[in-house]
């Protein structure tokens, strides 16, 4: 286990350096942020002053090295546009993002896993057809449309829940459902397919022929090994959710990381772009690691080396 951990840690560091470098280069390729920040009638001299103030007049290599140097000390610099610490801007948004990601993710698992198993067991029946069709519709329907329909029904017509915003639990319900429905649609189909594959396997036939109870066969033998691809997929879904769900956040005016990231790109706010991308990369690395560990727990045949 220890060599595995060390190997993983080294990989993670390489990934983060690579990501920070690529983000830096790509961001700078988009052009000069001063053109967007300076007031509409700023003179060339004003703009040059602003470039110097922001440190954009220095050579690229120097800018990158000072970014890395500061980042290692936990300082991601100041946002060009909002003139506040990047770490502070991100830290403000993380709780809202985690809240929405956790609620959406758990809800999608609660929907997808039982539903996927049930329709796998009732394969090729009417219910299988209905649920599979619903899942396909859920996967095809754009998230913003689902969100808007939920708002019109539950907030404007029935007035049961707030339209948008961030506050008590009531504000969380509609955006969490919006996220969960899309993710659940994808996962349900995966659970069904994976379960079907396992149910056809030889060792399930063996288990049955040993005379094990059907419940034991399903939940001990079949369920655990069918969860391997589901865990992989669900992990990716979660990683995507925690790095921000831009469209859902926009519709529900949810102050999450996704909106922060997309606005930073629009405004060429380089330090903020680097900060949010780095955060997303950290989330992906950590979640991938957890998935690997989870494989061992689920399937004793998997060994971490």
């Amino acid at each position: 286990m220890l060599p595995f951990l060390i190997k993983r840690l080294l990989q993670a560091i390489l990934v983060l350096i690579g990501v920070s470098f690529l983000t830096f280069i790509v961001a700078h390729l988009t052009g000069d942020p001063v053109e967007l920040m300076a007031r509409e009638n700023a003179t060339e001299e004003d703009k040059q002053q602003l470039r110097e103030y922001l440190g954009l007049d220095r050579p690229l290599a120097e800018q990158y090295l000072s970014f890395i140097g500061n980042a290692l000390q936990g300082d991601l610099g100041y946002s060009f546009v909002q003139r506040a610490k990047v770490t502070e801007l991100i830290a403000e948004r993380v709780p809202a993002t985690l809240e929405l990601a956790a609620a959406g993710f758990l809800l999608s698992l609660v929907i997808a896993i039982p539903l996927g198993i049930i329709i796998a067991l009732k394969r090729n029946t009417f219910w299988d057809l209905v649920v599979t069709a619903l899942a396909m519709i859920g996967q095809a329907a754009p998230g913003f449309w689902i969100g808007l329909m939920l708002i019109v029904l539950f907030a404007v017509e029935l007035k049961l829940l707030p339209v948008s915003g961030y506050g008590g639990g009531a504000y969380l319900v509609l955006p969490a459902i919006t996220l969960a429905l899309q993710s659940a649609a994808r996962l349900t189909r995966l659970v069904r397919a994976s379960m079907l594959e396992v149910l056809d396997a030889d060792y399930i036939r063996t288990a049955r022929s040993k005379g094990l109870r059907e419940r034991t066969v399903l939940f001990v033998h079949a369920f655990r090994s069918s969860m391997i691809p589901v865990v992989t997929m669900a992990g990716l879904e979660l990683a995507e959710l925690v790095s921000g769900a831009f469209i859902t956040e926009t519709i529900f005016a949810w102050p999450g990381v996704g909106r922060l990231a997309v606005n930073a790109v629009y405004q060429r706010d380089f330090p903020l772009i680097q900060g949010v991308v780095l955060l997303a990369a950290v989330f992906f690395v950590v979640i991938n690691f957890l998935i690997d560990v989870l494989y061992v727990v689920i399937d004793p045949r998997v060994k971490l080396k």
Binding site: T30, G31, D32, P33, E35, L36, M37, A38, R39, E40, N41, E44, D46, K47, Q49, L50, Y53, Y78, V81, Q82, R83, A84, K85, L89, E92, R93, P95, L98, E99, A102, A103, L106, L148, I151, F154, A155, V156, L160, L161, P162, V163, S164, G165, Y166, G168, G169, A170, Y171, L172, V173, A176, T250, I251, F252, A253, P255, G256, R259, Y266, R268
Partner: protein, 504 residues
């Protein structure tokens, strides 16, 4: 671990609500503040970093006072200055309001003005503040505690205009506090006090009960950031937002509901297709070609079909009431356009690139309609969407390709409106240059006699109108949604003054 407890609690609440939606909602409160929804978030609360009218500007206008207030029609009103006079051609003297205190207890006086104006002239504030650049302000003289004199390098008619956007913060506080603190916790003398700000979500103000002026009717004001227009409108219809800013023409009707009304304002921003004289199409350097473009496009029809008749054609490059009344919009006359093109040697037309950015809604639609009109007089249009940063770079370098959808100057100040089209001016994105025009504009900006100045400005307007560096379109209309319980007179410049909102 504050965080985990927090979300676990909310998760629980969410589950409960899912199970029993009929539970009484905790978000419905009794003491209701006025909620204002904008598509943008507040950027900075530093009064000297103010660079957008709403919501940042609206919050600054509420927390801070300037010496002079700009009224809805553009006329100057007393604010922290009670009266002013011109002592000589380059010196303005202001009497300041006595007995005003900032909300941290600091007194307002001439020294406070001096400290604030000095701060505006240092980096990074001078990249945003325009007081010194635009007025030529070179000295602030403290005459006594409540009298100051502002001395400019040359005579200027624009002093009051720029003072209206120069806000005065508590002087000791801004000198002793770091700029990023000031940007989060502003202290002014305005009708409202700052309470709380969660970025990307909401900013809360409460009435300043020690305000020197008339007390606002509304006690608490919340500025919410709701990026999606349909969500802003749904909030309005659900009665959870009282005032909506930034409604697109195609969704305007949805602001009318049993609890809210749509309010239409003919804005001040002058929409046009800029004509890039130094771009890739040499034909555009000929004034006859530019006039032909103006005759080729049926602007009133575009207004009624694309904008639902919500605005009217431009009458000059200067907004009413300062426009030269002798000027009228170019008539839609394709035959005349063809004749002018032939006269200029382009009887067979020429290829022309139409560009737009995301800065203004409907850039694509407008460009395509304009292009189809131009096609009918023989011009061959191609269309190109440009990323905002590239677009702005093209504007400031006057290097866009052909003609481009743009809006300029949401203001009422003939001198400022005219100066942007002088040779080499940074806003002169079409690259137009006419020394005779420049001379008139400069002379007007230094002429202190009102009638004489107006004559010069009218002459300049006539020259620029006929030289047509723009394909003139319309004034950008603004749409607002307002709760039926409130009354408020909206400003065409999109600043919002919550202290003037009243209950019906």
């Amino acid at each position: 671990m504050k965080l985990s407890r927090n979300w676990a609690g909310r998760l629980l609440a969410a589950t409960v609500l899912l199970a029993a939606p009929a539970l009484s909602p905790s978000w419905a409160q009794d003491a209701k503040p006025i909620v204002i929804a904008s598509s943008e978030d507040v950027i900075s609360l530093d009064p000297h970093m103010l660079d957008s009218n709403n919501p940042t500007g609206s919050v600054i206008w509420s927390v801070f006072d300037s010496l002079v207030r700009r009224d809805l029609d553009g006329s100057p009103q007393p604010r922290l200055a009670t009266s002013w006079e011109r002592v000589d051609d380059v010196t303005w003297r202001f009497k300041l309001r006595e007995g005003v205190k900032f909300t941290n207890g600091e007194p307002f006086n001439a020294e406070a003005v001096k400290i604030n104006f000095a701060r505006m002239d240092t980096a990074p504030f001078n990249s945003v503040q325009q007081l010194h650049d635009q007025t030529g302000l070179k000295e602030v003289r403290v005459v006594d505690d409540y009298t100051i004199e502002l001395v400019t390098a040359a005579p200027t008619v624009n002093m009051l205009y720029w003072l209206e956007e120069a806000f005065i913060a508590a002087p000791k506080y801004i000198t002793e506090t770091s700029p990023d603190e000031v940007a989060k916790a502003p202290i002014g003398s305005g009708p409202y006090k700052f309470v709380d700000w969660r970025r990307g979500d909401a900013l809360v103000l409460t009435r300043n009960d020690d305000y020197w002026g008339e007390k606002p009717a509304v006690k608490d004001v919340v500025f919410r950031n709701i990026p999606e227009v349909s969500s802003r409108l749904n909030e309005l219809r659900a009665g959870t937002v009282d005032l909506v800013i930034g409604i697109t023409p195609d969704s305007a009707d949805q602001a009318n509901s049993d609890v809210s009304d749509l309010v239409k304002i003919e804005g001040l921003r002058k929409m046009h297709m800029g004509i890039s004289i130094k771009g890739e199409q040499p034909a555009l350097a000929d004034a006859r070609v530019r006039q032909a473009l103006n005759h080729a496009v049926d602007v009133p029809t575009i207004i009624s079909s694309l904008l639902g008749g919500s605005t009217s054609s431009l009458l000059s490059v200067v907004n009413p009431p300062n426009n030269n009344p002798a000027l009228t919009p170019f008539a839609y006359d394709p035959e005349k356009a063809k004749a002018l093109l032939a006269e200029a040697g382009y009887a067979d037309g020429f290829p022309l690139t139409l560009q737009w950015s995301t800065r203004f809604d409907g850039g694509k639609e407008v460009s395509e309609v304009v292009g189809s009109f131009l096609e009918q007089v023989g011009i061959k249009p191609t269309y190109e969407a440009v990323e905002l940063g590239q677009f702005r770079e093209g504007l400031s370098k006057a290097s866009l390709k052909g003609i481009y959808f743009q809006g300029w100057a949401a203001l009422i100040n003939p001198s400022v409106e005219l100066v942007i089209l002088t040779c080499g001016h940074v806003d002169n994105s079409s690259g137009y240059c006419n020394p005779k025009y420049d001379e008139l504009v400069l002379k007007a900006s230094q002429t202190l006699d009102d009638a004489e100045r107006q004559t010069l400005e009218f002459q300049a307007q006539e020259i620029i109108w006929n030289d047509a560096p723009w394909l003139y379109l319309w004034r950008l209309p603004s749409f607002f949604g307002l709760s039926k319980q409130l009354s408020y007179e909206f400003r065409a410049d999109n600043y919002l003054e919550p202290y003037l909102i009243t209950y019906k």
